[in-house]
Symmetry: C2
Subunit: 357 residues, 2 copies
């Protein structure tokens, strides 16, 4: 801290993403990246891109990309907002909707960036405890609030809500914006975007980082009522006129157009997840029911941190959260078929050495 910092800066406890060590090659199952490359259409779009056009500013509205996303999701362009990754879109949403008289609500076990955004924008919040099986406690959300945000499926648990449950929460909170953060929705749950015509308080946020295999591109978007999208536009246009660069737009369009590849990747990851979950149960793990591209697991005899460290020593990264209620759990991204096998082999060796199988 120094005299030069705004007071706020000192109070921030920044978000820490999953580690990306460079000391050796790891099997990376710690940041929910896709084990598969992006669509071949992406490589083609890169090849076809006219480098000379980069001397021009991008379209500040990313019109073509917005129109394509609107068509894909059965919405109007005025119901779509794009940003530099869904983290930026979420940040704008916090500033646009959640600075209210009442506290906002989110689950106690959830995306750990939410309290960080609250600190950044000085928003008060209340965490609603998940039940013992890490399911959403609907009664907990039935109180006065300045907004609600939920990942669906939830992270890092992987557990998904069903559409009727989301509908009920939206109907219960006509005065608040409810943000459904669907980073993992394409791996087996239903998008709340179908409820947009019904509810003007619903904002759905999605990303290209997971199911489109493009974490390195930084592209996220929000879907919702025109009025909510206008608020996001006002924030964005007061922050950065051109958050989505020309290359990102072109690649985003190309990836969206390759529906076959998208469906194939989803299908493979879901199938791998189910095989992985079964094998982990056989090794003695409790596996929470996942609708995401990761599994959240607990071993009754072994400390999660120790398993994490042993796996790292064996060249495999998984995510361990040193946080209340989940410090006995591990989040493991669904890797390629080979990566999943290597993980299971390593776990077998570790548990064997500890005499736990």
């Amino acid at each position: 801290m120094t005299k030069y910092w705004s007071k706020l800066v000192n109070k921030l406890e920044p978000y820490v993403p999953g580690e990306q060590p460079r000391d050796q090659q790891y099997i990376k199952l710690n940041t929910n990246e896709s084990p598969y490359p992006p669509s071949p259409a992406v490589a083609q779009a890169l090849k076809d891109f006219a480098a000379d056009s980069l001397r021009r500013y991008p379209d500040p509205q990313s019109g073509d990309l917005v129109a394509a996303l609107a068509a894909y999701h059965g919405l109007k362009p005025q119901q779509v907002f794009v940003g530099n990754g869904s983290d930026e879109v979420l940040a704008h949403a916090f500033q646009a909707f959640f600075k209210q008289q009442d506290k906002i609500l989110f689950p106690d076990i959830s995306y750990s960036f939410y309290p960080v955004y609250c600190a950044l924008y000085e928003i008060e919040y209340c965490r609603i405890a998940l039940d013992a099986e890490f399911r959403i406690d609907f009664d907990g959300f039935r109180c006065a609030n300045g907004g609600i945000i939920l990942p669906n499926p939830n992270a890092p648990t992987g557990i998904a809500l069903k559409i009727p449950e989301i509908r009920e929460m939206l109907a219960d909170n006509p005065e608040s914006v409810v943000v459904i953060d669907e980073a993992y929705v394409d791996f087996g749950s239903d998008s709340a975007s179908q409820l947009i015509p019904e509810f003007d308080n619903l904002l759905v946020v999605q990303t290209y980082s997971k199911s489109r295999n493009l974490a390195g591109l930084r592209l996220g978007f929000a879907l919702g009522n025109e009025n909510l999208i206008e608020a996001l536009q006002r924030i964005k246009n007061s922050f950065n006129s051109y958050p989505v660069d020309s290359l990102t737009s072109a690649i985003g369009l190309a990836a969206l157009a390759d529906e076959t590849y998208f469906q194939e990747c989803r299908r493979r990851i879901i199938a791998s997840r189910e095989r992985l979950a079964t094998a982990l149960v056989e090794l003695g793990f409790h596996v929470f029911p996942s609708s995401a591209n990761f599994v959240f697991v607990r071993h009754p005899q072994s400390q999660a941190e120790n398993i994490y460290l042993e796996l790292k020593a064996a060249g495999i990264l998984v995510r361990y959260f040193n946080s209340a209620r989940i410090d006995d759990c591990l989040r493991i991204s669904v890797g390629s078929e080979t990566e999943c096998e290597a993980l299971l082999e390593a776990l077998k060796n570790i548990l064997n050495a500890w005499g736990q199988i």
Copy 2:
């Protein structure tokens, strides 16, 4: 406005970038883009880029790019911060440094995004009037303040301060952060980055959009004391872990490495600007002394808005600001040699038709 918007959203008056009409092909001299394509090294970097690597998140610290920029500017990596365009970097700087007891100061004629950032972060400001020749009034900046921001060269005037003048302002304000916004510095003025070892209250912001011919890429950066950079990191890591995508890093590195091309483009633009300025004076314009890639001009007999409209009708876009003190001026980006000739020809016709030459 609706019940869903944070109060703040309603008060915002977003920044409006130069128009990008799509109804026809214009000669675009309205957004200070480069008339030249990016370095051939950029096309090569695009060709060499492994599309498959996009499935991975970028390095959240953009380590390679930061190291290269540090080396280029003779600084340590801890003195460099990169972001999604210099507009994002500036936004973070406003939040990190300018939320203070006292008002911040900037010139009354300046980058029109500054008051927008102030609204976004609820920062109070005071505009210090430029003198009649649009030069900085140093005495005006000699008052208690919560920070100072100046474009150098200034925009839209193009007039540059000299290093001793910036040094004096830094020495006069040891309690405040002074941000020197050097979007246009490569077109004939000196960077204040040489003063960083001397002043821990100096932040210099630069961009790839102008002199690197990469407006479509969205890459900007800040240089300053480690302590200021740490504050920007804390804001960034509370907003978006990965603002610079993998492609942007790779292209940014490639462009930086091609020093010969960079110097050649600068030289050509400076030479074109001088020829253009001379020709505009011959047409009766008052041309303010520019160190930027644009000229700021006033015609004693003709209304700026009318010239702007006539030029647009002739297929040439320039920038007209409907703002106090400068609504009789036009900002004209330095185009290619051919574009400058077309502009001069069109102006000749317009002024001729009006009987003013």
